[in-house]
């Protein structure tokens, strides 16, 4: 578990972009940073609804099954219908006809352990795939969690580990990680051990509420936190309240991004905002945010393609 860090790992930085509320522009912003940052690996840790590949158009180099946890199923020829499994199962996953509802099954194995007839199969569960790819911005680690699957936290952890390996192999020292929305298991998995998190929010009553909760989560895990507010002009009063909250909590306010249709237009064409239009208001705001971020994270060099 606690292997000694190599020199490269010590110097490696990881920025995780999160938001609390979904749809505030995490992925578009991360893709924009990919246009500006040098020597980086991209990592899509929003495995539940991964979208970064829609802009990065990755060429998949490696494809791996992701197996985690187990699922019970009853072998009907061995089952004597004694009912012990139904009594013990806390998920109500076993029907009166002794069929396991695989969606309700938590994979706890209690039925498997206690079944007197050994009539329960308890196999590893394939819950998705993960990929190592090449993109026009460098290597990328990403994944696809199977629909309705659990263990997204474990897959997030896996993707970030693979991202770090990629960085090491390619002598790169920055990991740009697109995080999931919310504050639950995948978000917790996406931020542990990160150099910093950047919360991208929007100046709405929900954006503010959700930013406050995810900022509290980052503070709970003692991760240095920064915030930037997208679509700032939609409601400047709300935006200012959010910046005031950040300052009070010692969260660095990295800047304001104006509402700019360039984000949607670039996305529709599968491009970053800099590839689409480097001179839009949105692009200029993001470029400034990146420069300040790079300085704060002490990144040695950044491209200035924009």
């Amino acid at each position: 578990m606690s292997k000694r860090l190599t020199k490269k790992e010590k110097n490696m930085k990881e920025l995780v972009v999160i938001s609390g509320k979904g749809g505030t522009g995490k992925t578009s912003l991360l893709a924009a940073f990919a246009s500006l940052a040098a020597d980086k690996v991209l990592c899509d840790a929003d495995v539940d609804a991964a979208d970064l590949h829609l802009i990065m158009n990755p060429r998949i180099r490696e494809r791996h099954d992701f197996e985690a946890g187990h699922r019970a199923s009853i072998l009907q020829d061995k089952c004597i219908q004694c009912g012990l499994c139904r009594d013990l199962c806390r998920w109500g996953a076993i029907s009166e006809t002794f069929v396991v509802d695989s969606i309700a099954c938590e994979g706890c194995g209690v039925c498997y352990y206690f079944c007197p007839e050994k009539a329960i199969d308890f196999s590893l569960n394939n819950c998705g795939e993960w990929f190592i790819s090449d993109t026009r911005f460098g290597p990328m680690a990403h994944a696809r969690l199977g629909i309705a699957e659990e263990n997204s936290g474990k897959l997030v952890t896996r993707i970030r580990q693979e991202g770090k390996k990629l960085a090491e192999q390619n002598n790169l020292d920055l990991l740009l990680t697109d995080g999931p929305p919310g504050i639950g298991c995948p978000v917790i998995a996406s931020m542990g051990g990160a150099t910093a998190v950047l919360i991208v929010s929007e100046p709405t009553i929900s954006g503010r509420h959700d930013m406050e909760r995810v900022a509290e989560l980052a503070a709970f895990f003692k991760i240095p936190t920064m915030v930037c507010i997208n679509k700032f002009d939609l409601n400047p009063d709300q935006g200012q309240l959010m910046e005031a909250f950040a300052k009070k909590k010692n969260i660095a306010v990295m800047g304001r991004i104006p509402f700019d249709p360039v984000f949607t237009r670039a996305m529709v064409r599968g491009k970053t905002i800099f590839e689409f239009d480097g001179h839009s208001d949105g692009s200029r705001a993001v470029e400034k945010i990146w420069r300040d971020l790079a300085q704060r994270l002490e990144l040695h060099n950044t491209d200035t393609k924009a």
Binding site: R90, I103, I147, G182, I183, H209
Partner: protein, 286 residues
């Protein structure tokens, strides 16, 4: 009838649809906010909260006076939440899934259960609308058990609207399972379409009828509409991008309050949903 409002992609307008649908219907409706990680519906409904309940999930507590260090509890635990180290048993309550396996297997009956706080459930209402939401404790990883608690407030024969979390994994499944209809809110962009396909996949696994709402319907491309046509998914409502709507939302104002002409549209959305389920009328007159 239970209608779940879900999306795949976040920020497409689930909460806007769920809250305005509930408010348009008027009294005799239950609104459950199952996005317990980031609940937002209360910011728009502004219910009077009358009751707050702390929700816990059972986790093991070991009586070392009875424990013989046999290790059976660690052996059965799939989640590494209980281990025997030297002369003691360590539990990791935050890893525990509350299956009760350790307690059931312990030959010395040395394990009892205590609670780990998942969060709170708040109950309230506004003008005959019943409101319940869950708030996951910050730092807690597991939302499905709290979501299931919120869903205990469904009432048979009463229209229940569920605001689901984004994504397609276990919290979303916990929010949609057993509902009569899933309303999928999307936007006509590549991200919206990609995540919509995943959400449709999840709804199909559960075998629930569904329909679409396209929000900011004039801001992207035509691929969502093409996909809907291919899949035979009905587009039940479209909302064009309107800065007034976005600004009202930013302040926590309800669309049907700021622009009352929308109330009719939400009511006809509800009628269209009813036509597509086996619950023709939950209420005979609106």
């Amino acid at each position: 009838m239970i209608i779940s409002v879900a999306s795949g992609k976040g920020g497409t307008g689930k909460t806007t649809i769920a809250t305005n649908l509930a408010l348009s219907y008027g009294g005799g409706v239950v609104l459950l906010d199952c996005d317990v990680e980031e609940p937002n519906a209360h910011l728009f409904i502004r219910p009077d909260i009358r009751e707050v309940e702390t929700i816990t999930t059972p986790v093991p507590e070991v009586d070392m006076g009875k424990c013989t260090l046999c290790g059976k509890c660690a052996e059965i635990c799939q989640f590494k939440a209980i281990v025997v180290i030297g002369e003691t048993v360590l539990t990791f309550p935050e890893m525990c899934h509350s299956c009760g396996g350790c307690m059931a297997v312990c030959p010395e009956k040395a394990i009892t259960e205590t609670g780990r706080v998942l969060g709170v459930i708040e109950k309230g209402g506004r003008n005959g609308l019943e409101f319940v939401h869950g708030k996951l404790r910050v730092g807690e990883a597991m939302s499905p058990p709290l979501i299931r608690k919120v869903r205990e407030f469904e009432r048979p024969g009463v229209l229940t609207i569920i605001d689901a979390p984004p994504g397609t994994s276990c919290p979303v499944i916990a929010s949609m399972k057993g509902s009569d209809f899933v309303l999928l809110v999307t936007e006509p962009t590549p991200f919206g379409l990609h995540d919509l396909k995943l959400a449709v996949g999840a709804v199909k696994i559960l075998g629930i009828p569904c329909g679409l709402v396209i929000n900011r319907s004039d801001m992207g491309d035509d691929h969502v509409r093409e996909y809907a046509k291919e899949q035979g998914l009905d587009i039940l409502m479209e909302i064009g991008f309107d800065r007034r709507i976005a600004e009202a939302y930013s302040k926590g104002e309800m669309l049907v309050t700021v622009m009352p002409e929308w109330k009719e549209r939400f009511l006809s959305l509800l009628l269209r949903i009813e036509e597509r389920t086996s619950h023709p009328h939950v209420k005979t007159s609106y």
